[in-house]
Amino acid sequence: MTPIEIEIQVIAIVVSVACALPGVFLVLRRMALMSDAITHTVLLGIVLAFFIVESLSSPLLLFGAAAMGVLTITLVEAVRRTGLVREDASIGLVFPALFSIAVILIARFAGNVHLDTDAVLLGELAFAPFRRLRPGGIDLGPRALWVMGGILLFDLLFIIVFFKELKITTFDPALAAALGFSPIVMHYAFMSIVSITAVGAFDAVGSVLVVALMIAPPAAAYLLSDRLWVVLLLSALFAALAALTGFWAAWLADASIAGSMATMAGIFFLLAFLLAPERGVVAGARRRARQRIAFAQLMLAIHLFNHEDTPEAEEESRVEHLGRHLRWRPDFARRIVRRAVAADWVHRVNGRLGLTDRGRDAARTALAG
């Protein structure tokens, strides 16, 4: 690995973790798509700030972008509060409009400046190591690493200091208000954090990757645990893994690193969705299959119990007959009988089934409810 490659990977990990941590609260607060809105509208903030300072390297651009993020949230809230459109439509109205203004401003007034909408949207992590921080000629490393490292520390500090407040306003805003924590103040404080993180990250990797990293790792972690701090840790871990695997996948295919990281984040989510031990699709299907078998075995016991000592018992207790009465296919019926015999609920005497004491008890308990 060349030093450049190592630097790219370090930046990728720092960016991913910095996005994933606030992302946990975005997912839990059902505001995931605000990240989509903010990452688009910051472009307008950058353009407007650029018109004022007329420089692309000024840190003021990032402040303009972060301010536009907060303005976006305020506007979405204002439109929603008119009561004329719902929240989803409010987001869908505000951010395309602001983004359109930005694109038009760039096309008309900044055509000859390197202010490229493609670069903003798609990002190119591969170039990040080439923009270095050189105060007084001393090479301190890539600028993105310093910016995102600072933002990561800031996010961590915010989450640690306000952990209790974030937790309570996220899960029970009414209780939070009753206890004297203002959910509104917390909302704007938290969204400012999201805004700053999104701005710093999209400068390094482009806006679409920011959305992927803010939502996919936290969502995957949310399927694996019910404890907030575990979800935070897991989502940081998934984000870092997505960064590393994404980088190498992109290296192999010679393709966009940002896109590849987003894809890997999606694959991690898909794995969690399918394989999560309790909530996964596979675990759910297996649980349902197990319940179906257990239920069938109980049905067999009840069926035999109902006909015990009746004139039809002779007929009803034949294995071949189960198909007609319980609507079971022959192989399913044989399987259930085998299980019931193994569980010592049923014994088999010349092709007929009879209940054991244990099976009779099970049927009786089930019928008694």
Binding site: L84, G111, L121, S260
Partner: protein, 375 residues
């Protein structure tokens, strides 16, 4: 009116206006259902999710034919949408997160494929990235035919499944009790929405297509409470935004089409939210002012009457300061008095004192008696 002459004689302009207009009408029609079902952002997810489909369709066929690319986009958008539906149904992930994941991950995958394609020595992929921001100027009559053809299919589907879509939008549980297969209908509706979105990608672009789903419908919603009218209006607004945006951008240098169309749609929404009868913010503001004024008039009249009853002489004057003190901090007592004066219910005496006129006395008495009889 040069623009209108050009619209008839300029081939490019006519093509662009026709394409943008028909895609606006189609996305407006389907957007009405998306907005009513609180799925405004489904369009955003679908349009982003379409990107890998566009690139894959190109990689597999090597063709840049609009129909091929649009079909690829539709398949990818459809898969993304099924993924959203099954994640929401099969886990505790909230729907907005599911949308966000599909949006960004599919788009990321599309980016990987796009950059991979760009580095292939054989293929010339130029033009694929116009799908990101859209480029109406490159529309050909052939593309417009694809837009109009697929759009007509989508609109026809809405006509055929009108009743089902209506149930789905307002009361799916009731629909299920009627025996309508609501889950399948949901998939049908979303599939049609996918079609409506992918036909707009080439003109408006992936990033902004979602606005064409939300804005016309949100505007139409302000004007009516009936679904039929709302869908028609929404289609009309969508077409208007498409045509006007395309024309404005074509007649000005350096004005990209997609953003101009979106801003035209945004203006329509803003006007509708402000001026639509009944729901419009302007009328609501006027109504609020009027009722506040009526209450104030009532209160000051009442206060003057109370003062009049404490005096032998009912027309004795009282200074404004007294009325202000009685009003308990309400502002605008003087203005209200002037309203009363203009209705000849009160009159100004020297030294800025006010008293009820005989009519005012009668009026206040009448109001008090109706109040006590209804109480």
């Amino acid at each position: 009116m040069n623009l209108f002459r050009e619209l008839f004689f300029d081939y490019t302009l006519r093509t662009v206006a026709l394409g943008a207009g028909s895609l606006g009408a189609v996305s407006g029609t389907l957007g009405a259902f998306a907005v009513l079902r609180r799925q405004s952002l489904l369009g955003d997810a679908i349009s982003h999710a379409a990107l890998p489909g566009i690139v894959l369709a190109f990689l597999l066929t090597g063709s840049k034919n609009t129909l091929v690319l649009v079909l690829g986009a539709a398949v990818a958008g459809w898969i993304g949408m099924l993924f959203v539906l099954s994640v929401v149904r099969g886990s505790r992930i909230p729907s907005d997160s599911a949308l966000g994941i599909v949006l960004s991950v599919f788009f990321g995958l599309g980016l990987v494929l796009l950059t991979y394609t760009q580095r292939l020595p054989t293929a010339s992929q130029a033009g694929l990235d116009t799908f990101l921001f859209g480029q109406a100027a490159t529309l050909l009559m052939r593309d417009v035919a694809v837009i109009a053809g697929l759009g007509a299919v989508a609109v026809m589907a809405v006509a055929v499944f009108w009743k089902e879509f209506k149930l789905l939008s307002f009361d799916p549980e009731f629909g299920a009790t009627l025996g309508v297969p609501m889950r399948s209908m949901e998939i049908v509706l979303t599939t049609v929405l996918v079609v409506a979105i992918v036909i707009g990608l080439q003109t408006v672009g992936v990033v902004l297509m979602s606005a064409m789903v939300v804005a016309p419908a949100a505007a139409a919603r302000q004007w009516t409470n009936r679904l039929g009218r709302m869908v028609l209006l929404s289609a009309l607004f969508g077409a208007a935004a498409g045509v006007s945006g395309a024309l404005i951008s074509a007649s000005t240098r350096n004005l990209p089409t997609g953003p101009t169309i979106v801003l035209a749609a945004t203006v329509i929404v803003a006007l509708s939210m402000a001026f639509a009868p009944e729901r419009g913010l302007v009328w609501a503001g006027i109504r609020r002012r009027r009722s506040r004024r009526a209450i104030q008039v009532d209160a000051v009249l009442e206060d003057l009457f109370a003062l009049a009853q404490q005096h032998e002489d009912g027309t004795h004057g009282h200074p404004v300061a007294v009325l202000e003190a009685m009003s308990g901090g309400r502002t605008g007592v003087e203005a209200t008095l002037r309203v009363l004066e203009s209705r000849r219910l009160a009159r100004r005496l020297p030294d800025d004192a006010w008293a009820l006129t005989p009519e005012g006395l009668r009026e206040a008495e009448a109001r008090r008696s109706t109040r006590s009889s209804t109480a």
